[in-house]
């Protein structure tokens, strides 16, 4: 079998699923559209696992180095002999890893949704959108060139918009879908400009050629792009910064993060798929894709480091104060993506090698499993008690044993307790930070303590704390099997994913690296995590007054974190006061008074004039004949006396 032909099926199967479900699902096989979507995804998952096996163990490695393989390339738009937009499939360790993550998590979400979305009026539309998203995300990770990635980048944005606004009869869902769309689009404007700058100077859109040209210190392209500058910063830095702005928008980094917590209005399985495991890490993937170019320009990587570290810390602080369980998880996602980004960036302070690359993608890999597990667990809880609010929960462990155990596993994994997945990936990140920049390391260490605290605050508040008896009246149990099995499978993944020797497979240059686990080094992070858990146990295990007292004692800090550091207010100020008052209102005034005014003037004067002369049209034929005759006489007079 040709190596390439079946790989193309992986993104195309969900696309076919989208078309079939979107066109016919609603009318002809509504009840089976969920099963249909799951089967399509199952096929795609099996194919991608086979691809991964082939790539990592059979034919991806040449001379001990994993080569990027362009297995399929089709010229889509040819501009000039050297410049074209291609559609193709690029396999390298990162994209194959993402392929597995996306299809696997998407399959779990598809199966979970069978139970969660049961009885929903737009059931088949939901599955159509999920398929569309899966197709776009797979197209994104497999892109061979930077413009293809941009096309799929916007496609995932659209499907995210459609799924956030899935309950379109709820005004809040509509509003948040709009926020998500506009916020990411503003960021994508930066991305587009960055692409254009890079393509203009390097003369290609293709990743391989681009990286090859720009990393070669002798190449004329590199000399050109670093030579040209704007506002004292070289064009290369501008391009990389702007591309990172696009990535930061999708990955919800401060200060472009506001859309992600709001995006929790969508159905919970969607949050698990799009807003936890796949789409939001697209920014990390983008930086990783162009990592070789980023390594030329260290100041940009340092900015990325700080953006990531600050996001990690601030989002973790906010997560401690939120009471909506999905919002806690959303801020936790921002925080973890911050981890991935500063892991990519932090080698810029040291020897600028690819050490952070592997750590970052490893964390992306493990995070996808335990975070989607957390979201699906939260979905299961929300399905059971029909509320997002932490205050309405408590003592659920007896009612939902499977959810309880799997949630606990995920909490331990994200807190970095050995031997679960999060421990290994976090360890690598912290170690990279330790070797390159101590300040970042301490921020990360504190953040990991806070992470453990808020995760266990969530866990204790849902499953322990106050006892409630109303649940006994709930007429359905924990949920059907198709809601429980994905939780169990993901829990197994969250436990075992850490044991994969990740850095042997996925590294910046394709060479395998043996990771050494520094046992003495891991004492501090694990101690931090345990301290965080213990603190959460003290405050939230039983119902008591301590959390309230603590909040009062912290005063301003608590309030600031509770208000999400006033980012929403700042955005409101900028949009309402500055954009609306200074730009939109004058523009509206000009439109109303000058543009419309001119048109109205024309119309009014025509109307007035015709009002005056309309009496001439009397309906009397003889009058008309008279006018006609008068006219002829006048013209005759003119011809006879003036123009003779």
């Amino acid at each position: 079998m040709n190596y390439s032909s079946y790989i193309a099926l992986i993104p195309l199967l969900p696309l076919a699923g989208f078309v079939v479900l979107g066109l016919f699902g609603r009318k002809y096989f509504k009840a089976y559209s969920g099963v249909f979507g799951c089967l399509v995804l199952l096929a795609a998952t099996i194919l991608s696992l086979y691809t991964a096996y082939n790539y990592f163990f059979v034919n991806g490695k040449v001379d001990g180095v994993y080569q990027p393989l362009t297995v399929l390339k089709y010229t889509w738009l040819q501009f000039s002999p050297g410049l074209s937009i291609d559609m193709g499939i690029l396999l390298d360790p990162a994209s194959v890893m993402m392929l597995v993550v996306v299809t696997f998590v998407s399959l779990m979400v598809h199966v979970f949704s069978l139970g969660y979305m049961k009885g929903e009026g737009r059931f088949s539309v939901y599955y159509a959108f999920l398929s569309l998203f899966t197709f776009s995300m797979l197209g994104l990770v497999l892109s061979t060139n930077i413009f293809q990635i941009y096309i799929f980048w916007e496609l995932v944005g659209v499907s995210s918009f459609l799924l956030i606004g899935f309950y379109y009869d709820k005004p809040s869902a509509v509003a948040t879908a709009k926020i998500a769309f506009i916020d990411t689009l503003i960021a994508d404007l930066g991305f587009l400009i960055g692409i254009l700058i890079l393509a203009f100077y390097s003369g290609t859109l293709d990743f391989e050629t681009l990286i090859q040209r720009l990393t070669d210190t002798q190449s004329p392209q590199l000399a050109q792009i670093t030579g040209a500058g704007f506002l004292g910063i070289s064009m290369l830095s501008w391009a990389l910064m702007l591309i990172f702005v696009g990535g930061a928008g999708k990955s919800a980094m401060f200060p472009l993060h506001i859309w992600l917590p709001d995006a929790m209005e969508g159905p919970t399985p969607v949050s698990a798929l799009i807003h936890a495991a796949t789409m939001v890490v697209a920014g990390v993937y983008l930086v990783a894709r162009l990592y070789a170019v980023y390594l030329i320009d260290l100041p940009v990587l340092q900015i990325i480091t700080w953006a990531g570290a600050l996001s990690a810390l601030l989002a973790a602080l906010i997560a401690c104060t939120q009471t909506d369980i999905k919002r806690v998880l959303a801020y936790s996602t921002i925080s973890q993506i911050g981890y991935m980004l500063f892991a990519l960036g932090v080698p810029a302070y040291g020897d600028a090698n690819g050490a952070g690359y592997s750590a970052s993608l490893f964390h992306l890999f493990t995070h996808a499993f335990f975070k989607s597990l957390l979201f699906l667990g939260a979905g299961s809880v929300i399905h059971f008690i029909h509320s997002n609010e932490m205050n309405n929960m408590g003592g659920l462990r007896k009612f939902m044993p499977v959810t309880h155990i799997t949630f606990l596993v995920a909490c331990l994994a994200i807190s970095g307790i050995p031997p679960l997945a999060g421990f290994f990936s976090k360890e690598e990140i912290l170690h990279t930070a330790w070797e390159n920049n101590r300040v970042i390391y301490y921020i990360a260490l504190i953040t990991s303590g806070i992470t453990a605290f808020y995760m266990f605050r969530l866990y204790f508040s849902i499953f322990y704390n106050k006892q409630r008896h109303i649940y006994a009246e709930a007429n359905h149990g924990e949920g059907s099997g198709n809601m429980k099995y994905p939780l169990m499978i993901l829990a197994v993944a969250a436990v075992t994913a850490g044991f994969i020797p990740f850095s042997q497979y996925v590294t910046a240059d394709g060479k395998s690296v043996e990771t050494v686990l520094h046992l003495s080094f891991s004492i501090a992070p694990v101690a931090m995590a345990i301290a965080g858990i213990a603190f959460a146990y003290m405050l939230y295990f039983r119902e008591n007054q301590r959390p309230q007292k603590l909040a009062n004692a912290l005063g301003g800090l608590y309030k600031a974190a509770y208000k999400k550091f006033y980012f929403d207010e700042i955005y409101l100020f900028i949009t309402k006061k500055i954009i609306f008052n200074l730009i939109a209102k004058p523009a509206a005034w000009i439109d109303k008074n000058i543009v419309d005014g001119f048109m109205n003037l024309l119309a009014v004067s025509t109307a007035r004039f015709s009002e005056r002369i309309k009496a001439l049209q009397s309906g009397s034929v003889q009058n008309y004949a008279l006018y006609f005759f008068g006219g002829i006489v006048a013209i005759a007079a003119v011809f006879i006396y003036w123009l003779k």
Binding site: Q617, G619, S620, Q622, L626, F629
Partner: protein, 104 residues
């Protein structure tokens, strides 16, 4: 043959034209108005024939124009009478004062 000068014929045709025009402007009966228009057309015919005879006696252009005008006048009369009949069916009258519906 040449005892009648051209101006005499032109006087006749002018008189005929203005008689027709007077009729067109003053009569209220549509049939009479139609007849007045025929008078005006005929005055034009006389002009054509007269100019042809007196100015270009070796040519037939004016005569052909006259023949065309007579044909068109016949067709126009048929159309006009059809319109008048329809008007009568709708208004029970062929008085031009009663047909003032087509106005602002």
């Amino acid at each position: 043959m040449n005892t009648v000068p051209l101006t005499h014929i032109l006087f006749v045709s002018t008189a005929l034209f203005f008689v027709g025009m007077y009729g067109l402007f003053t009569r209220r009966n549509l049939i009479t108005m139609l007849m007045s228009i025929e008078l005006m057309l005929n005055s034009v015919n006389i002009n054509f024939v007269a100019f042809n005879k007196y100015l270009y006696p070796d040519k037939l252009n004016g005569i052909f124009f006259t023949l065309f005008i007579i044909t068109i006048a016949a067709a126009e009369a048929a159309v006009a009478i059809a319109i008048i009949i329809n008007l009568y069916r709708n208004h029970r009258s062929i008085d031009v004062e009663d047909t003032k519906d087509l106005k602002f």
